[in-house]
Subunit: 290 residues, 2 copies
DNA sequence: AGAATTGTGTTACAAAAAGAACAGAAGTCG
DNA sequence: CGACTTCTGTTCTTTTTGTAACACAATTCT
């Protein structure tokens, strides 16, 4: 779909010669801060350009619109699609597959999710979360749900290497009391909870909260009820053309957290990592990358 | 120029808790394609969000505006100043974070990885892989390594719902013989192996191959040695500005596979899913999404 | 389980905006 | 220089749009 139809800005510039003095004056005013000014009421636009209201109406008709409202609608549409793909013009991600192929549709959705999610994250929140998660003086507990426990485990596997005192709390609630016994004020819980939100997880969060633990929550755009208890909350868009939700954006955030706390704890980590690698090598479980 | 007054998007985000169900629904609809939708007439916005017009009016008042027109005016003002600032040219993902922030650097890298990886995938291979993985007449075995076993489990959790005869082979090699005993010719192994490639995994692949099983391999750009035995091989770019590798692209592929086999097995799956959901509901482990 | 509170949609009204008709101003051509 | 054409602004009408008041539904609390 080569949807490169000319933008309204283009159309105005092309017609600039056919316009009269007052209309041209108006046109320049529109282009001055495009497209914001064109989205206001007709009268405002007219006043800003020092022309009369009918002049505006006449011009947009000259441009081929039925009336000012239609002009605005198309402007909004343009803005919409502009916001949709500031990314590369990748209609197709997997070359050779039709754009309707699930590979392309799915990837589109994920990229979109990433953009939306990242756009709503407060960097300060993020840094604060990393500060908590990476702080070796706070015990770290990681909790996930039925599906999200894979994310929890992913974080756990890495955090374990980077710092000490990391626990992955499995979903079976039998084992909770054991873990919770040792929780101190200021300890950190990282909780994953996407729809459909699990009562289990909420209960655990409540207990942790009651003990004075800090809670960092990774949830979806509708936000788990846990977010009322959370000190920091990241909500990811998870909708994809699938019967299931996507965890890709969540994973992206988790990996970024891992990168950040790795950096922040480099001094200690370096040592820990090396010792761990040694252990792996000795047990011959993992082969060095060659 | 630290004129970083909170954007309206921020304000909505902030007040999200104080909003009611319908209002939240509306809020999400606004954020969905921001700011375009907020610049249209109130009624349109209401219809898009499936709420009534007064709900819109009430919400904007809750956000601190005198009325919808004032809300729109500020939105336009925001758009105006955004267009003015050449910096806002969207080379940052997390707005408000410097482009050197790890959030932006990391996301850049992941998007790049996705683009590269998808560009090299042969859609026919992909379809073939889905055909194998989704075929209920072939037993399905899923295998991962130290880190990648989270990906394996993610696939397992979903595949388990979609079809029968799915097994997640954990990394401890003690249990292998048990599983391998039942492997028949034509069965399918999905193997995850990123650097540093694990001997364990290779051994298992060899045994599976010897038994005549089909092998679908998810690996990284340098390709695990298993790829010599694999019938289909997907290699993802995994490099990110981190001491660790990224599994995000791999997850994207896995999720796409899940979407595809879900689609392909819809008839059976529907039934399976419903029964499973029922079970979950009965056990009260999961709360219905409202 | 019933009552009170809060939230939500339908209806009706008021305000504002866009369009049409007309009259005056500017520019142009004989 | 004057008559014609074209352009532009003012006024008025019609339509659209936002808001207020009300009634019903959902939720919460007792």
């Amino acid at each position: 779909m080569p949807e490169n139809q000319p933008t309204i800005s283009d159309r105005i510039q092309r017609e600039l010669d056919r316009l009269t003095r007052a209309e041209r004056q108006l046109a320049h005013s529109i282009l001055e801060n495009y497209p914001a000014s064109g989205l206001g009421p007709l009268a405002t636009l007219a006043k800003d350009a020092n022309v009369s209201a009918p002049t505006v109406a006449r011009m947009v008709q000259k441009l081929g619109f039925k009336g000012y409202p239609e002009f605005q609608t198309e402007l909004r549409e343009e803005l919409r699609s502009k916001a949709k793909n500031p990314i590369a013009k990748h209609d197709t991600w997997a070359e050779g597959a039709p754009s309707g192929h699930v590979l392309n549709r799915f990837t589109d959705a994920v990229i979109d999710n990433i953009r939306h999610t990242l756009g709503q994250i407060d960097p300060d929140d993020f840094d604060a979360a990393c500060g908590l998660i990476g702080d070796p003086d706070r015990a770290l507990y990681i909790v996930g749900g039925r599906i999200t426990h894979t994310m929890a485990e992913y974080l756990f596997l890495h955090a374990q290497v980077i710092r000490a005192a990391v626990t992955h709390i499995q979903s079976t609630s039998n084992t909770w009391p054991h873990y919770l016994l040792d929780v101190k004020e200021g300890d950190v819980f990282v909780i994953f909870d996407n729809r459909r939100y699990e009562n289990n997880t909420l209960k655990l969060a409540e207990m942790a909260h009651a003990k004075g633990a800090k809670i960092v929550l990774f949830t979806d755009q509708w936000r788990s009820p846990v977010h009322h208890l959370a000190d920091i909350c990241f909500s990811s868009r998870i909708v994809v053309p699938s019967a299931w939700d996507s965890a890709a954006t969540t994973l992206l955030l988790v990996e970024t957290v891992i990168a950040a706390i790795q950096d922040q704890n480099w001094a200690q980590t370096k040592d820990r990592t090396e010792r761990l690698e040694d252990m792996f090598d000795q047990t011959k479980l993992f082969r060095k990358f060659t």
